[in-house]
Symmetry: C2
Subunit: 630 residues, 2 copies
């Protein structure tokens, strides 16, 4: 990069993880931040200046980033004392008048507004480099993976449960209520849900690079048209969805703005380049910091030939909100996926016991391969829902660890293994973490496991009134750890798509208090407290759960009360439980869960007597399991 003088020369360039769709997992072709830094985690932002290279990431990735970054890099541990925000760092550390470059396709409208304001206050300039392309992409060269080209497929109505016209009808009703004449859905899973399609452009996420744009009488899918082959072409045509080339979105969005239409866009999700007032203007700053939502209908569109100023409706996407509330078919699919998945995970757990019992060792990579192999035998399996985290011993403390052949650790007959994995099935998506010890756990490991289990149980058992956000429940999962002076550096629960992305919003169970979306009936979340001792071991216990109505003795103020139904049905290892720490209620919860696992999963194992016996043994009451010799 050139010096700060002249032209659009910039003295710093910001590279986030995101692609133009703000995907958590971009396709390999668009992993700019990973290419430039070497850091492979799913969250992090790079700043390259004329004399420094920095990566900001969060507590899940401190150890991994430290291992992957070269010596020329500075690791910025976001959220720890003394670590400035990226914006503040730029504002403070660059010379007066410095120009900071970005690719406006990979930054949201909100993040650009925020960065613009902070830099301006500090006498610096933000320069969105639209016509220059992505500076990292420009230097990537031959090694760059090609753009993905997997054809789309139809998501079967058996599992989708609602056809495209019905979904469009619901979105249009909300557009009318919000005074919007058009709606832009920029996230890949929004498009897939809306049009009942699935794709294969991104590892683990069954989505395709695409946008959706809806008006009162049209619905368009912007995608590489080569991916639209039959039967999906026919499916879309029958649903009245028009297919257009991916690149034409910007023209159509600009046309909405030019004709005075009011476009619904979420400034926290839509890229700066994709918002119509910025798209064609490129580097020039347009002061849109004062945009805000108004509800006085489409009056701006009434001027006919007069060109009215563009006034978007800036609200979270109604597609994201609708997608989070699963319909009965989606819930049936999720339950079915978890039964298939339970068989595969149990097969693996028995296999591992037998293997290390025979004196063999198993590498972390082999753990992944064998487990995925069992899943692959299940009906409707498509792929893993994320990269398997198989952390043996100290690797269990690396929260989003990814084992590499050659360098990975091995499981022997005395290893604590943290195993976080999941599957994409035709009918649904799974995500499960079990922590198992292949030998005799230490008292300290049992104590830590039991505290994590108590947090898991407290959250699973909670009852709360409608309207409560997930943030209110997050501390329940931490309290038993806090009492010991322990904690974990990640949220307790994320939303999960139905045969879609394993991470989805808008709900979350975390201490990010700005997420105020209530936990509503038919939302799917994870419940995954953990504890990680750097250099030693990690514990995490994760089930997926569905929010359901609960009967309560009273209903104060007429409110509905909610709780969880468990989707994940795999035993938790009894030998890791310190029963002296459990209350009678907690012990009863674990016995009840194991009874439920036995009753629901055993019918799927009738043709595998040894596996059935393994399940019976591992779902007995806790007292019986711990009392009897193994």
């Amino acid at each position: 990069m050139s010096s700060a003088d002249g032209g659009r020369g910039v003295s710093a360039y910001v590279v986030p993880t995101e692609d133009p769709h703000m995907s958590e997992y971009p396709p390999e072709h668009l992993k700019f931040r990973q290419y430039i830094s070497g850091f492979t985690g799913t969250a992090g932002t790079v700043v390259v200046t004329t004399d420094a290279a920095l990566l900001w990431t969060d507590g899940r990735y401190f150890l991994q980033a430290a291992a992957e970054l070269g010596p020329e890099w500075t690791l910025m541990k976001a959220g720890t004392a003394g670590c400035p925000d990226l914006e503040d760092w730029l504002a403070t550390n660059l010379p007066q008048g410095a120009r900071v470059g970005i690719d406006p396709w990979v930054h949201t409208v909100n993040s650009v507004r925020n960065l613009q304001r902070k830099l301006e206050d500090a006498g610096k300039v933000l320069v969105p480099l639209l016509s220059d392309g992505n500076l990292v992409g420009n230097i990537w060269g031959e090694g760059r993976p090609p753009a993905p080209s997997t054809p789309l497929r139809v998501h079967d109505m058996q599992w989708a449960g609602e056809d495209v016209p019905a979904k469009l009808g619901r979105m249009r009703e909300q557009m009318r209520n919000a005074g919007a004449t058009a709606l832009l859905a920029p996230s890949l899973d929004e498009v897939a849900w809306l049009y009942n399609t699935r794709g294969g452009d991104v590892d683990h996420n069954p989505v395709a690079l695409s946008y959706a744009l809806i008006t009162a009488d049209s619905a368009v899918l912007y995608v590489d048209t080569a991916k639209v082959v039959n039967p999906v072409a026919q499916h879309l045509a029958e649903a009245g969805v028009q297919v257009k080339a991916y690149e034409t979105l910007l023209d159509d969005v600009a046309a909405v703005a030019a004709t005075g239409g009011r476009l619904w866009l979420d400034p926290a999700r839509v890229s700066y380049a994709g918002a119509p007032t910025h798209g064609s203007a490129g580097g020039a700053r347009e002061a849109n910091g004062d945009h805000h939502v108004s509800n006085n209908g489409g009056s701006a569109a009434a001027g006919g030939g007069v060109k009215a100023p563009f006034r978007p409706v800036e609200l979270p996407s109604p597609v994201t909100a609708a997608k989070a509330i699963k319909n009965p078919s989606e819930l049936a699919g999720m339950r079915e996926a978890h039964l298939r998945d339970a068989v595969a995970v149990c097969q693996f757990m028995k296999w591992l016991e037998d293997k290390v019992g025979s004196g063999a060792t198993v590498s972390e990579v082999e753990v992944d391969e064998v487990l995925t192999g069992f899943r692959r035998q299940q009906q409707g399996f498509v792929e893993t829902s994320f990269a398997t985290i198989a952390g043996a011993g100290p690797n269990g403390a690396i929260i989003h660890y990814r084992a590499q052949p050659g360098s990975c650790r091995h499981v022997d007959d005395n290893t604590l293994l943290l195993l976080d994995s999941g599957g994409q099935y035709d009918c649904g998506t799974t995500d499960i973490t079990r922590t198992v010890h292949t030998g005799t756990p230490s008292d300290h490991q049992r104590r830590c496991f039991t505290r994590v289990l108590q947090g898991h149980i407290a959250l699973d058992s909670a009852i709360w009134p409608e309207g409560t956000p997930g943030a209110a429940l997050d501390p329940l999962a931490r309290l038993p750890l806090w009492r010991e002076g322990l904690n974990y550096r990640h949220g307790t629960g994320h939303g999960v798509g139905a045969a879609l992305n394993v991470h989805e919003g808008p709900q979350a169970i975390s201490m990010r208090y700005h997420i105020t979306t209530p936990l509503a009936p038919a939302m799917v979340c994870s419940n995954e407290p953990g504890y990680y001792e750097d250099g030693s071991f990690g514990v995490r216990i994760e089930n997926l759960v569905v929010v359901v109505e609960k009967e309560t003795p009273f209903r104060y103020a007429g409110q509905q009360y909610l709780g969880f139904e468990r989707l994940t049905l795999v035993p938790m290892q009894a030998k890791l439980v310190d029963t002296a720490l459990l209350s009678p209620q907690e012990a009863a919860w674990l016995d009840g869960y194991h009874r439920e696992v036995w009753e629901r999963v055993s019918p799927r194992m009738q043709d595998q007597p040894e596996l059935l016996e393994w399940l019976r043994t591992n779902t007995r009451p806790l007292a019986e399991q711990l009392g009897a010799p193994a």
Copy 2:
């Protein structure tokens, strides 16, 4: 009020509870909202239009407001489904072009910005009526109470613990760090804390109508100078604090702005009229919606004779933050105040038992009088710290009930009484709620009381890492109620001043997630879950607690772990506890608390053998109290 035509004629006028200092409890002279509406609660906002009169208030006051408002009033139940925000109501219900009037002294900078934006979006106009005075004050006439005139007094160093120069030094350090050249403290308790003075202008709050303005080399108290008599005049002079007339603040603040100074003001606390860019401009709107904080020092002041635009430092007041962290002398004073208070409350509880035991009935007003009488006998008692809430039977369900002579209910030998009261002492401030039954509680009352008690215990027993906001702990106090389908419509805990206002910030234990102030060591809070059954009864259990460091077996990430120490030491009534619902840990908590009460309070009762015996009886282990006949 005139019609919407002509001059500054407004078609709606907004009257909040607040005075120019945003006091929760304004002096009688400034209770504009109470005068116009008749509603005496501490929270509510009135809108008067040409044909309607509306009052917005929250769940604590629905019943009280319905009882106090005349038939011409509409009660707007804030926070319930279908009730629009006041701002949205104005935006939606007034005709296009309508003008909405306010007294800019009783609205904060932030609230004016917010209202201005919402009205402008809806095609309406906000009109700050500075030169017209307060429209309610203008029609108040002869019955209006006079401006208060109580002299100031010195808050003794024994209880203040830090002298004024030391406090000023700490504030000036923070001003330098924030790039501010002056600091405006608009809240009455900020001024009192900063200058170690107390006043008597407001019932229950030992404060005086005043402002403080600090620069690097000056500290001014703006107050009715007639209130500054010796020894307070000498105290202020020795501390280097200049006393000026209350009304001269605006000139001095304008001078700071005019000379390019950077004034630190909290836009959420400073009145719109008091912020220098607005003060002299009166009704004319000055678009300051874009003010935001910058940290690049006092460079705006460098222009000398050139008039630079006024750039305030908009941050929460450092005085409020410092005041919330009690020093050892303040904590010693709070502990002492609670011991004195415990004796008075126990005296009352014994008196009530004896009285109704003799067949007499006691009115709610008499409850207040007798209890306050016992407090008055205690050393250093000044006044009650808020209006006593003595709610017998159904009145207990009115969350901030105030008994009135003639209309109030009576306590007989079978009444559930909710009693929330507190005292201002020379050394500290108390706030306690006990719910007692004078006969035999119903099973349902015991069940509800026990659920509230379990919530109280869960919060009291929590351990959490530094940095955790009170919002994270609030649900702990609700979970036992939620499980029954019960809840309460108020926060669980508020900050409490040391010999100052019984409600203070910045911390809170509530589900208002925008309050992210961590609960830090030496903060004082209330712990007061409740349950209210309209028309039937109310339960609340309230102790004051101090945040203290806690020893934990581990200290993950080097973090400090925190918990509570109890200040309030008065027995909780055993007969209201349903022991079948309590866990062994909860029963042990209650026994431990009663042991603590006995050990610390009994030495203060050595000269009152009958009271001592009452305390002994009521602090025995739960099993013993419930097993033995009364």
